[in-house]
Symmetry: C2
Subunit: 296 residues, 2 copies
């Protein structure tokens, strides 16, 4: 069953995440009007040119008047300011959701700033993305066969939750629910830590006096391992800061694992190394088979 169409969608931060959501709903005929709000006039003009939004405004009262749904898809560090600016102008029927990569901090900010509107706030995290950003990176198929995590709270309005879930499903996504703290612990391990490792590897190499010679011999393994090091620095700064305690826990675990590997190398322990590598390969291949199956 197709969800009830939206009269008016407001996208705050019309980048890869927000723009792709708008494009997907547009292509399905599930939204009449899309308004963009954002920091960069250039990006908003581009979004209008690309048919992602019908118009842009910096006036929150105009933006939110009659809006059914607001998707806040800015870097997470801006969300407090955005929620505070929105709150006085939100209607009593407007649902608010977000696309932030961390959930405990976003929930705390929404609780602090949205006041009575907090019950109609549905914390969300679409597990999709590329290393590109901005309106130009958006495309309507981004969410097809991807997970969208929703992290509702005890006080979250079930109708608001259902509406948001139905719209994401219409975009092709599968809905999964996690409590905010569990969400943050899991993504610290499977997303935030890998990003930090890729950033750290390239950053350390780039700082060497003879960096050029190292890079000359880097090949396809390096290319794929470091793809996420081309991600948006500000966005990842904010994610790491917002989820610092879980991320630091993962760094500590990883440092301990690396120390174990180093001990195996120091002891020339071939069977120990092969066992660790084999466990990784087996687990990764099993994961990949599932991931690919889910994507088809």
């Amino acid at each position: 069953m197709s969800p009830q169409p939206l009269h008016k969608l407001v996208v705050v931060g019309v980048g890869l995440i927000g723009g792709s959501f708008a494009l997907a709903l547009r292509s399905l005929g599930l939204v009449q009007q899309v308004l963009g709000v954002g920091r960069s006039a250039g990006n908003l003009a581009k979004a209008k040119e690309l048919g992602i939004i019908d118009g842009a405004t910096s006036d929150w009262s105009e933006a939110l008047a009659g809006a059914d749904l607001v998707l806040v898809a800015t870097p997470v560090a801006q969300m407090g300011r955005v929620f505070a600016a929105m709150a006085p102008h939100l209607g009593t029927a407007t649902i608010v959701t977000d696309g932030g990569s961390t959930k405990q901090d976003v929930v705390a900010l929404a609780r602090a700033h949205l006041g009575a509107h907090f019950t109609r706030f549905v914390p969300g995290h679409p597990i999709a993305g590329t290393e590109f950003n901005g309106a130009e990176a958006a495309f309507p198929e981004l969410y097809r066969n991807r997970n969208v995590v929703l992290a509702p709270l005890a006080e979250t309005d079930p109708t608001a939750l259902r509406r948001v879930a139905e719209l994401w499903k219409a975009c092709g996504a599968e809905i999964r629910q996690l409590p905010p703290d569990r969400h943050d612990a899991i993504f610290a391990a499977v997303s935030h830590l890998p990003h930090l490792l890729a950033f750290a590897l390239v950053s350390e190499l780039a700082a060497r006096a003879d960096a050029e010679e190292y890079f000359r011999f880097a090949a396809s393994g390096f290319r794929d391992f470091t793809r996420i090091a081309s991600s948006h620095p500000e966005m990842w700064r904010d994610i790491c800061l917002a989820n610092a305690s879980a991320v630091r826990e993962e760094i500590a675990r990883f440092q301990a694992e690396l120390a174990r590997v180093d001990t195996l190398l120091a002891a020339h322990d071939g069977p120990g190394l092969e066992h660790a590598f084999d466990r990784a390969r087996t687990a990764r291949n099993a994961w990949l088979a599932n991931f690919q199956k889910a994507a088809t």
Copy 2:
């Protein structure tokens, strides 16, 4: 100018590397006969079925009789045994080269076991590969626009060096020369360490009691970051052991870098994190532009 064709090529270890070299030369009409030597009768039968080799033998005297070139493309830990077995049967005109991912250890093994034939040994490392292995993974285009590092020594016969270089160039590769120790230092940083990090990340996750829930939320960033964790455990055990001291140096540098990142997180140092991420993104994007240009 096309290189002089080979009458007889012997490939020891008919996997991705050795098999692709044979297929490339065959497709160019640059080899009359290819003989395979290897541990696995099943893999050799498959290689024959796929038209990679004309036949296989476990008799070194038969294998090496009249051979122009021997490519040793086994995991590096087997090369000492292979060189020792080959040496008594090598003709005085036969050139030997290898495809090993480490060079100081392979050179030491060749020097120890090849005796007077050592001058006709050309240490090599084709910088190409996929996460797959075995004869079935081989394809003739593998080396197109890829680097092949040759690491000749003072005593290496220039004619042997030129012959090997010309054959790799015919396969589409670009030749680069490095001394063995510099080779090993560079590849510890740009290849061996990333492999270890990917193996360590997946291995650590897989060992958790609730691993399944973590893997459920891993997505495309994780997929690319961990692609090399699907690499061959035995091959990577051998590479890490063969290059243990350079690899351990890289682990130490990386641990120091991760500790720096952790300090930035602990201090909630947003500008410091963003600076490190930005340096990584800038360097990686510049590297990628060059890498893609070279590949076209």
